[in-house]
Amino acid sequence: MRLPQFVHVPFLLLLPLFTHGQERYFTRMGEASFSFTTKMGEVQAANHTATSMFDPNDGSIELSMLMKAFEFEKAAMQDQFNNELMESDAWPKAVFTGRLLGISDGVFSNPRKLSFLVVGNLTIHGTTRKVLEHTSWVVGEDGVLHTECRIKVVMDDYGITVPTLFKDVLPKEVELYLALDFEKL
């Protein structure tokens, strides 16, 4: 499904600050990264400004990140990523909206390690695909929720066309790594 040109995600602005049940969690410093190996060496990209909201009452989670906030070691790679692959001017954000499966009341109340499946919709390059992945969680003594997740992104699934020049260089899929430290709103 192709979304309108600009995916405006005002999810936080629309949500009330006070809700029934447990408080919601938020981060604006989420890490999203990926890497792959080419004949010319390792390519790494990282984004440290993913915003995300998590509601422990129903397990819903939303995440949004700017494609142009992915930073590469080399400027040429960053330009190619934004201009030739992701078309970031037309599709400036990647968005995930989903829900943890099988959570129970109060499960995030005490320090512990947890794991859940998350199911939801991931939109990249204006194309939305359903994803189902494992997530690991750590409830810290200080109340911070740390979660990690790896999502397989197949270029073709999201309509990302690899220019002929790079067809033999770039992988057909990458693993997007997400690490989020949520604090209470």
């Binding site: 040109q5 600009f6 405006h8 995600v9 005002p10 936080l12 602005l13 604006r28 410093m29 890490e31 440290h48 400004t49 993913a50 915003t51 949004s64 990140m65 700017l66 142009k68 906030a69 930073e71 590469f72 070691e73 080399k74 400027a75 040429a76 960053q78 001017d89 400036p92 954000k93 430290d181």
Partner: protein, 123 residues
């Protein structure tokens, strides 16, 4: 000569993304006004500021330095849920909440916050 050309091409390919230090900003404005422009018309503000070096004046809300990550300085915007996030590659330990700063950086766009990257403090 051929070798020289190849060396030049490789050197050009290997260059790191440019930083804002030493760059002339295309716009100078308050953090509050920058956020407001994006909230009023995200598309128009995106066209005006994204990929540009912009200079922003504001009050420090906080400094975040996660392990292994960038140092992020958050500027007040008058909106408790939104900030101008300025990413630095070096320590900003001298900055404390409430201090007034001028920062310039490359605008990456609006994602609830306005994000500036490869920033430099303006003295």
């Amino acid at each position: 000569m051929l070798l020289g050309g190849a060396w030049m091409a490789q050197r050009q390919y290997d260059r790191a993304p440019e930083v804002a230090a030493g760059k002339w900003p295309s716009a100078t404005l308050e953090a509050t006004d920058l956020l407001q422009e994006f909230m009023d018309d995200e598309v128009a503000a995106g066209k005006r500021y994204t990929d540009e070096v912009i200079e922003v004046n504001g009050t420090v809300r906080g400094v975040s330095a996660p392990q292994g990550g960038k140092v992020s300085v958050l500027l007040e915007t008058g909106n408790p849920l939104a900030a101008v996030v300025c990413e630095f590659d070096q320590s900003m330990s001298g900055l404390v909440p409430g201090s007034m700063v001028t920062v310039k950086g490359y605008c990456a766009g609006y994602n609830l916050d306005v994000v500036l990257q490869r920033c430099a403090l303006v003295e």
